[in-house]
């Protein structure tokens, strides 16, 4: 009985951690799909989003779930600037260059944030702190349920945006065939900026949800989740959004089980062990078609 309780608890933690990974991985997938760039600094946008939310919340006391939108809007702007100034000049010069550039971005964002906000671990108490909802045999904090609902809502909104709106269709066209998209008159550079901005906004949403869940955060929080998000999109198959969702959930659950049964140091290591095993066994990912 007790074992099942613990198992459910881990499952819920995993689901919650998975939500953050899904948002990060979906954003990365969007950027990778459209621009074919590898941005390891994606986690830094999560961190900036988290700090924007925390700062506004501490200053004004507005409900953090409302600030989510503000934070996402701010990150669309920051993302567009980063894309325009840093990634566009080196577009098409090779994946390694993009990776090295993102290392530069990691240095700038992490330590820039540390200059502004300090490098101590911080945490914020959500206004619904302490309220729990009974689910089966365990009490789940209501924040976790709101977070899961928000993630689902954001993903559905993204899905509708990609399927129904003109810009969404242009994004899909660009990701399928960049030259073809150019030929039919799509301004691919504009699409690049928009996709990068939306990807960053999704990272900001992940950062906000990280903060409101009451987890601690500091300027260096982003780099490992970003690499894990890459692991997730490789696991799920490049360019596959359902793959990213399933991969994110699996990763969240696997990680929390490992942290519980093997000890905290294995929390990060286990995701990479899974990644290496999957890459050795199935280089195209679990749900991947043919990759890039």
């Amino acid at each position: 009985m007790d074992d099942i309780g613990i198992f459910l608890q881990i499952l819920f933690w995993g689901l919650y951690a998975g939500c953050i990974y899904i948002l990060l991985a979906t954003g990365l997938n969007l950027i990778f799909g459209v621009m074919k760039i590898v941005n390891f600094a994606h986690g830094e946008f999560l961190m900036i989003g988290a700090y924007i939310t925390a700062t506004i919340f501490l200053l004004t006391g507005i409900n953090p779930y409302v600030i989510l939108l503000l934070s996402m809007l701010a990150l669309i702007g920051i993302g567009a600037v980063v894309e325009r100034l840093c990634f566009r000049p080196i577009l098409g010069t090779g994946k390694l260059n993009e990776i090295f550039l993102s290392i530069g971005l990691i240095y700038v964002f992490q330590n820039g944030a540390a200059m502004v906000w300090g490098d101590a671990w911080q945490s914020v108490k959500s206004p619904y702190d302490g309220i729990t909802v009974p689910v089966g045999s365990l009490n789940v904090p209501i924040d976790y349920i709101i977070i899961i609902a928000f993630t689902a809502a954001i993903l559905i909104a993204l899905f509708i945006f990609l399927k129904k709106t003109r810009i969404g269709m242009e994004m899909r066209a660009t990701s399928q065939n960049r030259k073809g998209a150019m030929l039919i008159g799509i301004n691919v550079e504009r699409i690049d900026v928009i996709s990068f901005g939306i990807g960053c906004a999704l990272a900001a949403a992940a950062g906000t949800l990280w903060v409101v869940s009451g987890q601690v955060f500091n300027p260096y929080m982003g780099s490992i989740p970003a690499v894990k998000a890459f692991a997730i999109i490789i696991l799920g198959g490049l360019g596959s959004i359902p793959g990213a969702i399933i991969g994110g959930l699996l990763m969240g659950i696997a990680e929390n089980s490992a942290a519980f049964y093997l000890g905290g140091v294995w929390k990060d290591a286990v995701s990479f062990i899974i990644l290496i095993v999957v890459l050795v066994v199935r280089p195209t990912g679990l749900f991947g078609e043919k990759g890039e």
């Binding site: 390891f40 390694l96 550039l101 140091v265």
Partner: protein, 329 residues
């Protein structure tokens, strides 16, 4: 305005060597000597990373090999009592062996998958070191490591400095030979066009693994030297910082060149220590980040390419349309 490029390199090399060899007689500051030792070790480490990049493989977790070399050398030295001068190379062999295993998992994958696998591998090794291997490695607390030269010998710092200088020069000469040889040519062929390389009889898998082994070996040497120099080892050695530094050094100096890692390390160390004097803490990293980004965008071939760029600019000044952006390789 025609100063010979080869001549410039030759003079630069001789001058650098002379300064390095004469340094202890010019200044008796122990702080500077220590800095110089760490800089030499960084040069070996950056060159090791560069050798792997030379074959088209960018690693984001080279700290793993730094750490494995250091731990293996320390543990062998403690268990067997062999002099660190020998265990350095034994430890590096262990690093090379593990490097081949990691290389095997990703030689057939796309170039940037390797970046992820190596990044993750450094985290896995760290987790192993502090959990399963903790009885041997001392966990997070680390263990004392035998000094390269026992502090009881008078002037041990000088002996250590010259020993490390000799190892650095030997490593650079070895890398130079590798780059010039058929092996280096094969690395280059794979980097530029894998399909054509295969068509002309170069087996990419085999040569990538060779590059991996050699790079991991040198990184292991650097790690072991560093730890025997400091005299203490902790799992911090596997940190992300240690994986990112060689990349920054090499990109600034010039990717895929012999002189690149050396110039990059020297210039960045001077900038880094200079900024330390101004009292910046996080600001230093922000500046390094900007330097890295600006180098990638505006000077993609690094500082070694700067004289050439200046020459082109000098000749082309006044005639706007003749300036041709040098093509990236």
């Amino acid at each position: 305005m025609n100063f010979g490029r080869d001549k410039l390199i030759k003079y630069g090399l001789v001058a650098t060597l002379a300064i390095a060899a004469a340094f202890p007689f010019l200044s008796d500051s122990m702080f500077l000597l220590n800095l110089l030792v760490l800089m030499l070790i960084s040069i070996i480490f950056a060159s090791a990373w560069n050798l792997l990049a030379f074959s088209g493989q960018g690693s984001l977790g080279h700290a793993a090999f730094l750490g494995i070399g250091a731990y293996a050398s320390t543990l062998i030295a403690i268990q067997s009592g062999i002099s660190p001068f020998i265990t350095i190379f034994l430890g590096a062999t262990v690093a090379a062996f593990i490097g081949v295993l990691i290389g095997l998992t990703c030689v057939r994958l796309k170039e940037w998958f390797l970046a992820m696998v190596t990044f993750g591998f450094a985290i896995i090794v760290q987790a192993l070191t502090v959990s399963v291997l903790a009885p041997m490695t001392g966990g997070w607390d680390g263990i004392a490591s035998p000094r390269l030269v026992s502090p009881s010998i008078p002037g041990y710092q000088l002996i250590e400095y010259y020993a490390i200088l000799v190892i650095t020069i030997a490593s650079l000469i070895a890398i130079w030979y590798i780059m010039k040889s058929r092996l280096g040519l094969a690395f280059l062929a794979i980097r530029e066009n894998e399909l054509e390389a295969r068509a002309s009889g170069v087996d990419p898998v085999r040569y990538r693994l060779i590059a991996f082994a050699m790079s991991a070996y040198l990184a292991g040497v650097a790690g072991a030297l560093q730890i025997h120099h400091i005299g203490y080892i902790t799992p911090e050695l596997y940190g992300v910082d240690n994986s990112f530094w060689p990349i920054t050094f090499v990109i600034l100096g010039g990717l895929g060149t012999l002189a690149g890692p050396v110039i990059g390390t020297i210039v960045l160390t001077i900038i880094w220590e200079g900024l330390k004097a101004t009292g910046l803490t996080f600001g230093r990293y922000v500046i390094v980040g900007f330097i890295l980004i600006l180098t990638i965008i505006f000077l993609p071939k690094g500082l070694v390419n700067l004289p050439e760029r200046l020459q082109v600019w000098w000749r082309g000044r006044g005639r706007k349309e003749t300036f041709v952006e040098p093509q990236r390789e």
